[in-house]
């Protein structure tokens, strides 16, 4: 049994959790978009569980269908059973810090499997998730039924945002196939000299921050800027792709700290706490964002070459 077969098994498990979410979405009578929401999770469940056996063309159509459902506001979170605060309070008193134990097992076990076995990090995440779930169930004496509801509740509340990173990665594939990266680097290399390591690092770090500010989303900026600037100006010049990936994304987060476009982080707290200054959160973040961006550019230069 090779790694891919094991990984396929975990994708089927994800499909199963999505199926749970689909069933509960269909049953949620209070959700005005319950059919659309149920379909959304059902389509994803099918792609995750059986995608290998379906022609890519059909999967492509299904992906477009997901977009159409989302466009017409047919995917809604609906009514999710809240955690019963009395039960949670009582159990928190009893279990205390032990409640963090399954998460610690998850993190340590998944890294260890990735590091010390030939199975790889992804299989490690799968195995560690199953092990930590079993530990959590035993520790809290949960029944199968409540574990089912905990799973579907979590996935449904993540909602469409949960599938966005994967779609952005898919967009990266289309960009690459269309030669967007080459086109951007060709246009930029007319202005900036390729081959100057420091200039390349500055260009990439600043571009990640600026594009993130415009879009309000570092994940979206990552595929575009890494293909167009990170790869040609740093990796192709001998820079480490690991450093480019790790620090590129966090340079983007410096942009997130500075932009009102990142509503969840910078506008939501303003509303939650009824602040007078709409930009009050961003103003407090400015010094950290700029100093971290500068430090990271230096760090990227030192570590990548």
């Amino acid at each position: 049994m090779n790694t891919n077969n094991i990984l396929e098994f975990f994708y089927m498990l994800i499909g199963l959790i999505m199926l749970f979410s689909s069933i509960e979405s269909f049953r949620d009578k209070e959700n005005p978009a319950r059919i659309g929401t149920g379909l959304f999770w059902l389509i994803l469940a099918v792609i995750f569980a059986f995608g290998e056996a379906i022609p890519s063309f059909i999967v492509g159509i299904l992906v477009v269908l997901i977009g159409v459902l989302s466009l017409f506001k047919q995917v809604k979170v609906g009514r999710i059973k809240e955690v019963d605060s009395k039960v949670a309070e009582k159990s928190a008193k009893k279990l205390g810090a032990w409640l963090f134990f399954p998460s610690v097992v998850l993190a340590i076990l998944s890294v260890s499997i990735g590091q010390f076995t030939s199975l790889g990090g992804q299989v490690g995440i799968g195995i560690a998730s199953v092990v930590s779930l079993i530990i959590a169930i035993i520790m809290t004496r949960s029944s199968g039924k409540t574990a089912y509801h905990d799973s579907e509740r979590m996935v449904r509340s993540v909602g469409t945002a949960g599938i966005l990173p994967q779609l952005l990665a898919t967009l990266g594939v289309i960009f690459t196939a269309s030669g967007i990266g080459d086109l951007i680097s060709k246009s930029i290399s007319g202005i900036f000299p390729v081959g100057n390591h420091l200039l390349g690092v500055i260009l990439y770090g600043v571009a990640m921050a600026v594009f993130t500010m415009i879009m309000g989303n570092a994940f979206a900026a990552f595929a575009v800027i890494t293909a167009g600037i990170g790869i040609p100006f740093i990796v192709m010049q001998g820079g480490s792709p690991i450093v480019v990936a790790a620090l590129g994304m966090t340079c983007g987060y410096c942009g997130t700290l500075l932009t009102p476009m990142a509503a969840n982080f910078n506008s939501l707290p303003v509303a939650l706490m009824e602040m007078k200054d709409n930009l009050g959160v961003i103003k407090q973040q400015i010094p950290i964002a700029f100093s971290l961006l500068a430090i990271q550019i230096v760090l990227m230069y030192v570590l990548a070459f």
Binding site: F10, I14, P55, G60, T170, L247
Partner: protein, 218 residues
């Protein structure tokens, strides 16, 4: 008309900036880019399907959710709240520094706290305000400053520590994107190289919080 291909980037920027439906914006951008670079519809849809399948790894973080769901129902967040609310009689800067540490550590273990809603508004901001008002009533301007600083600390802790957890969607996205760009990188390697930034962000913000205490006293 090679530059027509960049239509996808324009769609992404405008779509996100104008807050259109995100999934629809991304898919539209993908379709527009493919068509503008001369792909046939069937080829484009196949590529889209193949790309989505090849990047299932990015959604692997979903498999960690059932465990988080179980411990959450049994009071994960209440346990964190109980721990934090023991920190009475500290200055605002110290409260925020302890919260920063807790936020970075939990992030590294894949625990998403949804901090602004569940910690900053009901717990951290009131605690910081209470400790700042021991020496006298706060001006409305200072109240706003404390709110802003509390929210900022949650964002900073969250952003710069989440890449330490190998099953986070960001790390999986980076790993998968680098693979499709032809320079494969494992999630473990990304998490390892995210340690320096997490530490630097912590030290820098720690110092910033201590200066915040001085600023409040004036």
């Amino acid at each position: 008309m090679e530059y027509l291909k960049l239509i996808g980037i324009v769609i992404i920027i405008l779509g996100f900036a104008l807050h259109f439906d995100t999934l629809a914006v991304v898919i539209t951008a993908a379709l527009a880019t493919g068509l503008a670079s001369g792909m046939s519809i069937t080829h484009l849809l196949s590529l889209l399907g193949q790309g989505f399948m090849d990047n299932r790894m990015v959604s692997l973080f979903l498999i960690t959710l059932p465990m988080i769901g179980v411990v959450e129902r049994h009071g994960l967040k209440q346990a964190a709240v109980n721990g934090i609310s023991k920190l009475k009689h500290l200055s605002p800067g110290k409260i925020l520094n302890l919260y920063l540490a807790i936020r970075e550590i939990t992030c590294a273990f894949g625990i998403a706290l949804s901090g602004q809603v569940q910690f900053i508004r009901p717990l951290i901001n009131p605690m910081a305000q209470a400790s700042a008002s021991v020496k006298g009533a706060l001006s409305p301007k200072k109240v706003d400053l404390i709110k802003g600083q509390s929210a900022a600390i949650d964002n900073i802790g969250n952003f710069y520590a989440q890449n330490l957890f190998i099953a986070s969607s960001g790390v999986l996205l980076m790993s998968s994107t680098m693979k499709s760009l032809g320079h494969a990188v494992s999630p473990n390697e990304i998490a390892l190289y995210s340690i320096p930034v997490a530490l630097i962000a912590f030290v820098l913000t720690f110092y910033y919080n201590m200066r915040f205490d001085k600023k409040l006293q004036n």
